[in-house]
C-alpha cells in the first residue's frame, strides 16, 4: 500500500506541514487576545491605564495571522487531496487491472459483489484514511498537544483541570462508541429485513394477491418495521445521553478553569486575560479530543478496507499465458483427454474423453448440475483441468497464449451478459472492426434482426442496465449475434437459446448451419429438440460421459437418452 503512496511523498509531506501552520495560528490567537485584555484594556504593566495603540496593532497582527492560517489551511487541503485522490486513482486502476487478469475461478471465490465493493467503496475508504491521516489526525493531534502546552505555559495549575477532564471525556467517547457500534450492525440487519419484505412484495405481488394475503403481509411488514424503529430509537436514545454528558464535562471544565484562574489571579500569579485565553484553550482541546475519536473510527474502517483491497491486489492470476501463438493448420478441433475437473474437493467431471472434429455440430445433454457448463468452460481455459488435458487444434490449451486461445473460441453463456450501451455496440463486442452489414448479417442469423429493427432506434437502441428493457429471448438472441459475429473457429452455445420458443430456435440453428458451415459448434441444451439434428450428442450423467453418438443411434443404444427423449417428447 505504501508503495502506491511513495509516488506522492512530496504532497504527503507538504499537507501536514501546512496543517501545522494553520493550527499554530489558531493557537496563537488566544495569546494575543490575552495581550489585548491585560495590556491594552487593563493596562496591568502600565498602572491601570489602557493602551489603544496596542489594541489596534495587536488586532492587525491577529488579522494577519488569521489570513496566514487560512492560507495554510487551504494549501493543506490542496496537497492532501492531490495526494490522496491520485493515490486512490492509482490504487483503483491497479485493482481493476489485476482483477481482469484473474481467472473466473478466482473471481468466483471472491464473489462478484465483494470485488465490486473492494474496487469502489473500499478504495474510497482508503482514500479517506489517507486524507484523515495527513490532515485530520495532524490537526487534532496538534490542537491537543499544542493546546495543552499553551495552557500549561499560561499557568501550570491548569494542568490539573486537563488531567481531570481529559480521561473522563476519553472514557465517555470510547464507552458510547463501543456501545453504539454493535447497534449499527443490528440496525443494518433490521433494515435489510424491512427491505427484503418490501422486495418480496414487489416481485411477488401476483402471488400475494392471488392468495389474498395482503393483511398478512401488512402484519409481517409491521413487525419488521417495528423492530427497525425500535433499534433506531435505541441508538438515538444512546446518543441522547451522550451529547449532554459531553457538554456537561466540557462546561464543568470551563467552570473549573475560571475557579482555578480566580484563585491564581487573587494570588497575583495570573492575569484576567490569561483566564480568558485558558477558557478558549480548554474548549479547543476537548473538542479536538472528541474529534480524534471520530478520526480513529475512520482510520479503523479505512485499515479494514485497505486490507480487503490488498487482498485483491496481491492475488496473483492463477491462469497465465503459455508461449504458443495459436497458428495451427487444423481449424476447429477440440479434444478432451481423460479430463477430470472440480471446483472444490469433489470432482464434477470424471475422466471424460472425446473428440470433436472440425466443422462438426455437437450437442451436450444432461441434468442440471451434471457438469455440462464446466465442461465447455474448460475449452477457453476459464478453469484448468485437474487431470488429463484439453486440446484445441491439437495443442494443449495450457500452452496457448490466452488471447490467442480465446480468439479461436466464441462462447455464448446461459445468462446473456449484455453491456449498457447500444445493441450494435453489444454485437460489435464480437469483432470490433466489423461493418454494419456484418452486424446485420449476424443478427439475421440469430433471428434478432426483426425485433431490433422494430425497436425505437433500431440497432442504436440502448440496452438498459442489465438488459432490463429486453425480454429474456431477445437478450439471448443479441448475445448469440455477438458470438456469431466473432467468427471464431469454435462456437459454443451454453444453453443460450432456452428462452426462445422452439420454432424460433429451430430457425436459428438452421440459418447458423447454412451460414457458418466450417465452424465447429458445441451446443448445450435442456430440450432434446434443440440438439436432435446435431451430428453427435454427448450425454453427461453424474460427471461422466454416458453416451456419445447421433440421435438415431442413441435412441437405440442409450437408455438414459431414451428416458430423456420419452419424458420430453412422449406423453408422460
Amino acid at each position: 500500500m505504501l508503495e502506491y503512496l511513495k509516488k506522492y511523498w512530496l504532497w504527503a509531506a507538504l499537507a501536514p506541514l501546512f496543517m501545522c501552520g494553520e493550527v499554530f495560528m489558531d493557537l496563537l490567537q488566544p495569546r494575543l487576545m490575552k495581550t489585548i485584555v491585560d495590556e491594552g484594556v487593563l493596562g496591568l504593566s502600565n498602572g491601570g491605564v489602557g493602551d489603544l495603540g496596542l489594541i489596534s496593532t495587536t488586532g492587525a497582527k491577529m488579522i494577519g495571522l488569521v489570513a496566514v492560517g487560512g492560507f495554510c489551511g487551504v494549501m493543506s487541503g490542496v496537497f492532501a487531496n492531490l495526494c490522496s485522490q491520485n493515490f486512490g486513482n492509482d490504487l483503483r486502476k491497479a485493482a481493476f487491472r489485476n482483477t481482469l487478469a484473474l481467472s473466473p475461478g478466482q473471481t468466483d471465490r471472491f464473489s462478484t459483489g465483494s470485488i465490486i465493493t473492494r474496487i469502489t467503496n473500499d478504495i474510497t475508504q482508503v482514500q479517506q484514511l489517507v486524507t484523515q491521516c495527513i490532515r485530520g489526525f495532524v490537526r487534532t493531534g496538534m490542537l491537543i498537544v499544542g493546546g495543552i502546552v499553551c495552557m500549561l505555559s499560561l499557568d501550570l495549575s491548569f494542568g490539573a483541570v486537563i488531567a481531570c477532564s481529559l480521561p473522563f471525556i476519553l472514557f465517555c467517547v470510547i464507552y458510547f462508541i463501543g456501545r453504539a457500534n454493535p447497534m449499527f450492525g443490528i440496525l443494518q440487519q433490521k433494515l435489510d429485513n424491512v427491505n427484503s419484505v418490501m422486495q418480496e412484495n414487489i416481485t411477488g405481488a401476483r402471488v400475494v394477491k392471488a392468495y389474498v394475503r395482503e393483511d398478512y403481509e401488512n402484519a409481517r411488514f409491521g413487525k419488521a418495521n417495528n423492530e427497525l424503529v425500535d433499534t433506531q430509537l435505541n441508538i438515538l436514545v444512546l446518543f441522547s445521553y451522550m451529547t449532554p454528558i459531553m457538554n456537561i464535562l466540557l462546561n464543568a471544565s470551563v467552570v473549573a478553569v475560571i475557579f482555578l484562574g480566580g484563585i491564581r489571579v487573587r494570588g497575583g500569579g495570573l492575569t484576567p486575560g490569561a483566564v480568558m485565553a485558558a477558557i478558549t484553550y480548554i474548549t479547543q482541546i476537548l473538542n479536538a479530543v472528541m474529534r480524534m475519536t471520530m478520526i480513529f473510527q475512520t482510520i479503523s474502517r479505512g485499515t479494514a478496507s485497505g486490507r480487503r483491497v490488498m487482498e485483491l491486489l496481491e492475488c496473483s492470476p492463477a491462469i497465465t499465458d503459455g508461449d504458443f501463438e495459436g497458428e495451427t493448420r487444423l481449424k476447429g478441433k477440440v479434444e478432451f483427454k481423460n479430463v477430470s475437473f472440480g471446483y472444490g474437493k469433489t470432482d464434477i467431471l470424471k475422466n471424460i474423453s472425446f473428440t470433436v472434429n472440425p466443422g462438426e455440430t455437437i450437442g451436450i445433454l444432461g441434468e442440471t448440475g451434471c457438469g455440462k457448463t464446466s465442461l465447455v468452460q474448460l475449452i477457453p481455459r476459464f478453469y484448468d483441468v485437474r487431470e488429463g488435458a484439453v486440446l484445441v487444434d491439437g495443442v494443449d490449451v495450457r500452452d496457448y497464449k490466452l488471447e490467442a486461445l480465446r480468439d479461436k473460441v466464441s462462447l455464448s453463456l446461459q445468462k446473456s451478459e449484455l453491456f449498457n450501451t447500444t445493441i450494435k455496440e453489444n454485437i460489435l463486442w464480437g469483432r470490433q472492426d466489423a461493418s454494419d452489414e456484418d452486424v446485420a448479417k449476424a443478427a439475421e442469423i440469430a433471428r434478432a434482426k426483426d425485433f431490433i429493427e422494430n425497436s425505437p432506434d433500431g440497432f442504436d437502441t440502448l440496452v438498459a442496465e442489465k438488459g432490463m428493457s429486453l425480454s429474456g429471448g431477445q437478450k439471448q438472441r443479441i448475445a448469440v449475434s455477438r458470438s456469431i459475429l466473432k467468427g471464431a473457429e469454435i462456437l459454443i452455445f451454453d444453453d443460450c437459446t432456452g428462452a426462445l420458443d422452439l420454432k424460433t430456435e429451430a430457425e436459428l440453428y438452421e440459418r447458423l448451419n447454412k451460414a457458418e458451415k466450417n465452424m465447429t459448434k458445441i451446443i448445450i441444451a435442456q430440450r432434446i429438440a434443440s440438439v436432435k439434428s446435431a451430428d453427435r450428442i454427448a450425454v453427461i450423467d453424474g460427471g461422466r460421459l454416458a453416451a456419445f453418438d447421433s440421435h438415431e443411434r442413441l435412441l437405440e443404444t442409450s437408455e438414459i437418452y431414451r428416458d430423456i427423449y420419452n419424458s420430453q417428447l412422449k406423453a408422460g
Partner: protein, 598 residues
C-alpha cells in the same frame, strides 16, 4: 456514525451535493406537517425543551462575563456563587438537551414508522399494473431511500432548524442588550459566512453533482465488467475495458480533487471568519472597554455569543438544501400514496359455485392503442381442462391476468357460473382460484409457512397430504430441518425445480375451485420435470383448469386446446381434431415438438 455529529466537529459539506428541488413544495410540506399534528403532545414537549435549552445557552455567557468581571475587579469572594449558579444552569441545560434529543428521536421515528406502514399498505393495495409498469428498483428506492431521507431530515434538521432560529434570536437579543455597537460589528462575520457559503456552495454543488455522476458511471462500469467477467474474458476485451475504466477513473479523480479542495477550503475559510470575529470582538471590545462602555467580562461573553450565533447560521444554510431534498422525496412517496387502489367493489361470494368460466367478447389492452386481446370468447365447463397454446406475445398470459382480476377488461365480460367477476368479492375470487406461475415465487420463511401461504388454517395433516400429492414429501424430508427449513433470499438455497414443486404444493393446499397454471419449466432437468408434471396432473384432477401449456403431454390431455395467435383464437378443439385439420396447431406441433422448420 451516519446522521450523527459530535458537537463542535467540522461538518462535511457533502450535503451541498443534493440540489434536488421539489415541484410543489408548499403542498407537500403541509401534507408532511399533517403527520406531525397527530403527535402534537410530543411536538409540544420538544418545543418546550428546545426553548429551555436556548434560554440556558443564552444566559450562561452572561454568567461567564460576570465571573470574569469579578476576577478583573478583584472581587473574589462572590466568585464561587457565580460559578455555582453557572454550574446549575449548565446542569439544567444538559437535562433539557437530553429531553430535546430524546423527544426529537421519538417524534421522528413515530412519523417515519407510520409513513412507512402507510406506504407499504398502499403498495399491497395498488393494482398489479402498478408493479408491472413501474421499475421495481424505483418503487424500492421510494420506500427505502426517500423515506430514510425524510426520516433523517425530520429527526435532525427539524429540531436543529427550530433551535437554530431560536438561538439566533436569543443570542442577538443578548448581544444587543450588552452592547449594541459590538453586536452590530459581530454581524460582519455573519455577512462573511453567508457570502462565502453562497460563493463556495454553488461551485461546490456543481462539482459534487459532476463527481456523483462520474462515480455512478464508474460503479456501473465496474459492476458490469465484474458480473460480465466471463464474457469480457471470452471476447478478449480486457484491454479496452481497462482503458475505458481508466479514462473514467482519471476524470473522476480530476473532478474529485476540485470538489474536495473546494470542500476542504470551506473549513479553513470558516476558521478565518471565526477568527476574524474573534479579532473584531477582542480589538473593538478592548476599545469599548477602555472607553468604559463595556466590561472585560462582556468581551468574553461576546466570544461565546459569536460562536453560538455563527453555528446555527452555518447549519441553516445546509439544512435548507437537506429539507428541499427531503420534500422532493416526500413528493415521490406521496405520489405512490395517491395511486388509485384496486377496484374491490364486488360483494358476491364464490362459495358453492361450480366453476364454469366464460369469457364473452373480451377486448383488452395494457396501453391504449396496443390491443392485446381481440373479441376473445371462450367457455370452460366445470371440471374441464383448457390448454392455451401459441407463440410468445399471443396473449396467453393476458387471459390469466384478466381471470384473476389483476387487470380489468376494456370491454366484454368474464363470468363465473354466470356471475360477472366484477360483482364477485375480489378476495373470494382469488381465494378460490390458485395459480402456479412460471417464476416460482417463494418468501424468506420456513417451507411450512411458504406452503401454508395459500391456506393459513391448514393443519399439519393437510400439509403432509399436499406434499405427498405434489411429490415434494421426499425432497422436504431431505432438507436439513424438514418443514422448518428456512428458505433464504426468496429460496436461493434450493433449485428452480424444487421451488416449482413447492409452489405446486402450495396450490394443492389452497384447495381451489379453479386452477391456473403457467407450466413452463425451461430450466429444470428431466427427472424433476417428470415429478412436476405428475404433480400437476394430480392437481388438475376434477378442477376447472386453465393452463398455459408448453408440454406435449399436458396439451394432449386437455379437454380443449385453444390456439392463440396475435390476441385472437385461431383454432380450438381436441388434439386429434386439430391435427386432422392440419392448420396452425398442426404446424405449431410439428415445429415445436419435432424441432423442424416448415
Amino acid at each position: 456514525m451516519r446522521g450523527y455529529r459530535l458537537p463542535g466537529m467540522r461538518v462535511r459539506r457533502d450535503r451541498a451535493a443534493r440540489s434536488e428541488k421539489p415541484k410543489d413544495g408548499r403542498k407537500t410540506m403541509l401534507r408532511l406537517f399533517a403527520y406531525f399534528r397527530r403527535e402534537s403532545l410530543i411536538a409540544a414537549g420538544l418545543f418546550g425543551a428546545v426553548l429551555a435549552v436556548v434560554v440556558c445557552s443564552v444566559t450562561v455567557p452572561g454568567l461567564q462575563s460576570l465571573a470574569i468581571d469579578r476576577i478583573a475587579a478583584g472581587r473574589f469572594d462572590s466568585l464561587p456563587y457565580v460559578l455555582a449558579v453557572m454550574l446549575g444552569v449548565y446542569g439544567i441545560n444538559c437535562i433539557c438537551t437530553f429531553f430535546q434529543s430524546l423527544l426529537s428521536a421519538r417524534l421522528s421515528q413515530r412519523v417515519v414508522k407510520r409513513m412507512r406502514e402507510e406506504l407499504f399498505e398502499k403498495i399491497t393495495n395498488l393494482p398489479i399494473s402498478y408493479t408491472d409498469n413501474h421499475p421495481h428498483g424505483d418503487i424500492m428506492s421510494r420506500m427505502t431511500n426517500d423515506v430514510e431521507n425524510i426520516s433523517n431530515t425530520v429527526s435532525q434538521s427539524l429540531s436543529s432548524m427550530f433551535s437554530g432560529i431560536l438561538m439566533i434570536a436569543g443570542t442577538v437579543f443578548m448581544m444587543i442588550y450588552y452592547c449594541p455597537a459590538l453586536a452590530a460589528l459581530s454581524c460582519i462575520t455573519v455577512v462573511m459566512t453567508l457570502g462565502i457559503t453562497k460563493l463556495l456552495a454553488s461551485a461546490l454543488r456543481r462539482s459534487y453533482t459532476k463527481r456523483q455522476a462520474l462515480l455512478g458511471t464508474l460503479n456501473a462500469k465496474t459492476e458490469e465488467t465484474i458480473t460480465g467477467f466471463k464474457t469480457v474474458t471470452a471476447y478478449n476485451r480486457q484491454k479496452q475495458t481497462i482503458l475505458d475504466f481508466e479514462k473514467t477513473s482519471d476524470e473522476l479523480t480530476k473532478t474529485g480533487i476540485i470538489a474536495e479542495i473546494l470542500a476542504g477550503s470551506m473549513g479553513p475559510c470558516m476558521n478565518v471568519i471565526n477568527n476574524t470575529g474573534f479579532v473584531i470582538i477582542a480589538a473593538f471590545g478592548g476599545y469599548f472597554a477602555i472607553k468604559g462602555i463595556i466590561s472585560i467580562g462582556v468581551i468574553s461573553a461576546f466570544i461565546v455569543y459569536a460562536k453560538q450565533f455563527g453555528r446555527p447560521i452555518d447549519e441553516l444554510a445546509q439544512i435548507y438544501g437537506q429539507i428541499q431534498g427531503a420534500i422532493a422525496g416526500a413528493e415521490r412517496v406521496f405520489e405512490v400514496m395517491d395511486g388509485k387502489d384496486e377496484d374491490k367493489s364486488g360483494s358476491r361470494s364464490m362459495e358453492g359455485l361450480d366453476g364454469v368460466i366464460e369469457f364473452k367478447n373480451v377486448n383488452f389492452s395494457y396501453y391504449p392503442g396496443k390491443q392485446v386481446l381481440y373479441d376473445f370468447s371462450l367457455k370452460i365447463d366445470a371440471g374441464k381442462k383448457v390448454a392455451l397454446v401459441g407463440a410468445t406475445g399471443s396473449g396467453k398470459t393476458t387471459v390469466v391476468n384478466l381471470l384473476m382480476r389483476f387487470y380489468d377488461t376494456d370491454s366484454g365480460e368474464i363470468l363465473i357460473d354466470g356471475v360477472n367477476i366484477k360483482d364477485i368479492d375480489c378476495r373470494s375470487l382469488r381465494r378460490n382460484t390458485a395459480i402456479v406461475l412460471q417464476d416460482a415465487v417463494l418468501f424468506s420463511d420456513t417451507i411450512e409457512n411458504n406452503l401454508k401461504y395459500s391456506n393459513p388454517r391448514a393443519d399439519d395433516e393437510a400439509v403432509e397430504k399436499a406434499a405427498k400429492m405434489s411429490n415434494c414429501r421426499n425432497m422436504i424430508a431431505h432438507m436439513p430441518r424438514g418443514y422448518k427449513t428456512f428458505l433464504t433470499g426468496a429460496g436461493q438455497n434450493i433449485s428452480q425445480g424444487q421451488k416449482q414443486l413447492l409452489t405446486i404444493c402450495r396450490a394443492f393446499l389452497a384447495e381451489p375451485e379453479i386452477l391456473v397454471l403457467d407450466e413452463a419449466t425451461s430450466s429444470v432437468d428431466t427427472r424433476t420435470e417428470k415429478n412436476i408434471q405428475n404433480a400437476m396432473v394430480r392437481l388438475m384432477n376434477d378442477r376447472t383448469s386453465l393452463i398455459i401449456a408448453h408440454r406435449l403431454s399436458t396439451i394432449r390431455d386437455a379437454d380443449i386446446i385453444v390456439v392463440m395467435d396475435k390476441g385472437r383464437i385461431s383454432e380450438m378443439g381436441s388434439h386429434e381434431s386439430l391435427m386432422e385439420k392440419k392448420g396452425t396447431y398442426y404446424r405449431l406441433y410439428m415445429t415445436q415438438f419435432a424441432g423442424k422448420t416448415t
